[in-house]
Amino acid sequence: MTTGTGNGSGRKQRSPTAWSSGIVLATVAAICTVLVTITHRLSAPRIAENEKAYLEQSLRPALANVFYDNDLSESTLVLPPPHGLPGNETATVYRLYAEERPAAAVLVVTARDGYAGPIRLLVAVEYSGKLTGVQILEHNETPGLGDLIEASRSDWLKQLEDVSLEDPPRDRWAIRRDGGAFDQLTGASITPRAVVRAVKETLLYFEANRDEIFAAREQPVTGQNQESEQ
C-alpha cells in the first residue's frame, strides 16, 4: 500500500486484495513448476548418461590396465559410517567385475590427518590386493610443499602404484622418517604420512572384507558394517 499510486481513489482501484495477489502468485508458481518439470523430464536421461560417462572417465587413470566389463554406476556400494575405512564420511566403493568375477575395486576414502584438513583419496585395488593406483581428489595442503602429492605436481604418488601389503611388507608401510619404505616430501612429512596411512588402512580393510564387498551385488551387505547398496 505504499507504492505511491496517487490519491485515494486511484489507490482503491489498484490495490489488490490479499486473495487476488495470492491467486496470481499461485498461478505463476504453477506455470513455473510445469516449465521446470518439463525441462527436467527432457534432460534427466542425458544427465544420467553424462554422469556415467564422467565416472568412467575419472576412474580410468587409477585403473591403468584392469580389464572389466560391468557398468560402474550399477555396482556402486555406499558405506555409511562407521565402516572401518579411513574417514568419518560416507565411503563409496565401485566394484569392477570381469565376466561376473571380481576384478578390482575403487574406494573413495578420506585421510583425516592431513596438514590442512582432510584429504579425499581414490584408491584402486585389484582383487589380489595389489594397488593399481591412487588419485588425490581433494585437499587443502600447502601449495609448493604438501600439494606435491598431486600427480600433476610431482611423481611422489607414483610410488603407490603396483605395491601391495606384501611388497613392501606391511610393517614397512610408512614413510622413511617413520622407518618405512615410502619417500616423504622435502619439507612436508605430515601430508605423505596421512596419505600412506590412509592407503594402508584401506588395503587392510579390503583384505579383510573383499569377499563381502564383491558378494554384495544384488542385496545390501548385512553384518557389522551395515553396508547398503545405492
Binding site: M1, T3, T5, R14, S15, P16, S20, S21, V24, L25, V28, A29, C32, T33, L35, V36, T39, H40, L42, S43, A44, R46, I47, N50, A53, Y54
Partner: protein, 213 residues
Amino acid sequence: MKAGLWNENPGLVQLLGLCPLLAVTTSFVNGLGLGLATMFVLTCSNALVSATRRFIYSEIRIPMYVLIIASLVTCIELIFEAWFPALDRSLGIFIALIVTNCTIVARAELFASRNRLVPSIVDGLAMGAGFALLLCAIGAFRELVGQGSIFARMDMLFGGEPIRGLALSDRGFLLAILPPGAFFSLALAVAAKNALDRRRKRVLGLLAARQLS
C-alpha cells in the same frame, strides 16, 4: 540496442553482475558459456515479465520476479548439465548463481515491467549480448595473458574432441588467471571504453567546429 551493447553495458557502465564476471572469466569458453546462459535468462525473463506486467501488482512484483527468474535459471542449469556437461563442471556454481545477477532483476524492474513485449525482448537481447561480449573479451584477454593460448577447450561448448586452441606460448603470466587478474582486466576494459568514448567526443567536437567555421 546500442544502449545495451555500449552506452549502458551492464558490466562496463552499470557494473552489475560483477560476481560471475570476475569469477568465471579465466578462459574464453567459460566467458562465452556463461554469457550465452545469462543472455538467455535475461531475454526470457524480460519477455515473461513484460507479458505478465498487467497481472503483476506492484506489491507482489518482487516475488513474481524471483519465481520467474529462479525457474528459468533452473531450466538453463538442467540444460547445461544435459548437453554441455564439461562446461557445466567448469562453470560450477556460477550457472545457478545467474539467479543473483542484478542485471536481470534490474532490467525486469526498470524496463520489462514498463514496456511492451517486443521492446522488452530486444532490451534483454541487447543487455545480454553486451554482458556476454564483455565476458568473452575479458575471458579471451585473461586466457591469452595467463596461459598464452586462446579458444582452448571450445569442444566443451560445441562438442567433439578436446581442442587445445591456438597456443601462442607455453607459459603465461599466472596473475591474469588469479582473482586479482580479474579486477585488473575489468579495470582495463572500463578504462578502454572511457578512453574511446572521450576520443569520439573530441572527434565529433572537432567536426562540429569545422562545420561551423
